[in-house]
């Protein structure tokens, strides 16, 4: 090698750099199947995605659900109207109070009753706290799964603070079962409103911290902006509701379009996006948290004094002194516990704005103490059905932010 002269070098020129790609294309390749889930560290929720890859592009995807199916609807048909309530906690387990409210409102519509005004305000406050915790989970987990641990820590700490308030209100952090047919289980504890206001200040600080860490972060924005795009027409075709639909620019929020409880007395803005990509779904959720905070503060100020549950012993349990002190109270208690609320025969579809979109309950009663049919229209179900459409033809790396931003909650999607 010491006598190596220039003349001895091979005469053929080296291949141009551009050719590297063409030779790669000529190499024999075959589609590769990648199995993501049902339990995967970069996703939350138990869903299995079988993706067929051509290089890094997903050419075909099959979304398989059912790993968290617990038979909510079948169980509901075999429980009394009141016993269904704890099952609804387990639907969307990060915003259980929205489910509680949605379910009892459906039963109340079937009964033809309305809960007292104070209870309506408490339900609004509880739902909005739950909406904040749900969005915090989505935003935090989205940051985490795209490589940022700090926003997750801030979001989860903020969520814990709110769950502390929920625990003081309901007795449990997540399995709340707080509402009752005709009202809520108990009034807000003394001093709770001030604690909640103080908590909201701290939560707002941490939310803004998340905003600062993510919204202008180049690493985050590069992965979420322009990925997972869906147009408004397609989103409606796929049955999108909630933040995912509003990120496409469709002004539809059940709280504004069909006001329920006392939402028509409260001043809030429905944030809208334009592009319908992952980034705007994230931004819409962030802004909705700010609006929910406004709603809670207004509701706390407006809330009147009064009872929190209807005074009808055929529907609501009588107060304990009446149960132990009078035969009527004891009998009403016994009949409600053993036979359940007697709901007149009929069918009803009642919908509220859950954290991820329209949460509907379709109930059929045959006049007995149990639901004849209890169907939940989970907001995540139609949204998840569009996942295949959202990721096909896109890069594998875009799957993670897309799956995060639609915020699939296994409990409600898989019942």
């Amino acid at each position: 090698m010491a006598n190596f002269h220039l003349e001895q070098r091979p005469k053929t020129p080296p291949p141009p750099v551009d050719d590297a790609l063409s030779t790669e294309q000529e190499m024999p390749t075959e589609p590769m199947q990648v199995n993501l889930g049902p339990s995967h560290p970069a996703t939350h929720g138990t869903v299995r995605i079988v993706a067929e890859l051509d290089g890094e592009v997903i050419t075909k995807a099959d979304v398989e659900i059912g790993y968290l199916h617990r038979g909510f609807e079948k169980s509901a048909e075999n429980a009394t109207w009141a016993q269904v309530l704890p099952y609804t906690d387990r639907l969307n387990y990060v915003s259980p109070l929205c489910n509680n409210v949605g379910y009892v409102m459906a039963v109340e519509k079937l009964l033809g009753i309305k809960d007292p005004e104070r209870s309506q305000y408490i339900r609004v406050i509880a739902s909005e706290i739950s909406r904040i915790t749900d969005h915090l989970t989505c935003v935090g987990a989205m940051g985490l799964e795209l490589g940022g641990f700090a926003p997750f820590i801030f979001a989860i700490e903020a969520r814990e603070l709110l769950w502390d308030r929920i625990a003081e209100l309901t007795g449990a952090r997540m399995t709340t079962a707080y509402t009752r047919i005709g009202g809520v289980a108990n009034d807000i504890p003394p001093g709770w409103a001030d604690k909640l206001k103080a908590t909201l200040v701290r939560v707002a600080e941490m939310r803004e911290e998340c905003d600062k860490l993510l919204s202008k972060n180049r690493i985050f924005v590069d992965r979420v902006r322009g990925t997972g795009i869906i147009s408004a027409e397609e989103a409606l075709d796929f049955g999108f509701t909630g933040p995912c639909l509003r990120a496409c620019g469709v002004d539809y929020d059940v709280r504004k379009a069909h006001p329920y409880l006392v939402y028509d007395r409260l001043d809030f803005v429905v944030p809208l996006g334009t592009a319908g990509d992952n980034y705007e779904r994230y931004l819409v959720r962030l802004e909705e948290m700010r609006q929910s905070e406004r709603i809670i503060l207004q509701a706390l100020d407006q809330m009147p004094e009064g009872p929190v549950i209807v005074d009808d012993w055929r529907i609501a349990l009588p107060p304990k002194p009446a149960v132990y002190g009078s035969i009527e109270g004891a009998m009403a208690h016994f009949k409600l516990v053993m036979q359940g609320v007697q709901v007149p025969a009929g069918e009803v579809y009642q919908y509220t704005e859950g954290a991820n979109g329209e949460l509907g309950f379709y109930l059929v009663s045959n006049g007995a103490g149990k639901p004849y049919r209890c169907h939940v229209r989970a907001p995540g179900f139609p949204i998840l059905s569009a996942l295949e459409h959202l990721i096909t033809g896109k890069m594998l790396a875009d799957l993670i932010p897309t799956f995060d931003s639609i915020n699939m909650i296994g409990g409600e999607v898989e019942q």
Binding site: D237, F238, G239, L245, A257, G360, F381, P382
Partner: protein, 204 residues
Amino acid sequence: MSQNALDLFSARFGSAVLATGNSHGDEWARVDGSHIAEMARFLKQDAGLQMQLLVDLTCVDYAQFDPSAPLALDAADRFEVIYVFGSVTLHHRLRLKVRVGGGAPAVPSITDVYRTANWWERLVWDFYGVRFDGHPDLRRILTYDSFEGHPLRKDYPIHKRQPLTSERGVQDLVRGPGPGQSNLHAPMSQRPGARPNTRSDAYD
């Protein structure tokens, strides 16, 4: 609240609309199932209705409903498929109900009109065994392929158990070959020394 929408719809499909009504403020129409795809297309595209959203699609099994009650169906029409349509611009809603029955209940699919119907129809097929003719991919969705029966039918017992997955004859490098040569992969109840299952309805 949505009476106008119901009137528009009834005027368009005169004889195919079997009954209409209002239950607790929700307008509904019971319709002839064979026209459901055409109806869905009309609801979606008509300028006066603009129902861009198929909100919900579900089914009810009326097999055990008290026959004297107002909602009870004839024995021949055991199932009722429920469609909820909504408009995000005009803010009105309409519920369509289709009765089906017989040995192999089936209604036409509306997947061509609303893409979201794809999964809802799979869900109804999975849980009620109501077929949707023309569905591109009518597989089970929440249960699994080897699941037997349709769990939300009223005659499906609530305590019925089924093995969770079908056993696969896969060669396992650690635990040896699959079933047939070793019973390591057999269900717990069939292994040697297993206690007899006393529940009458288990694995039946």
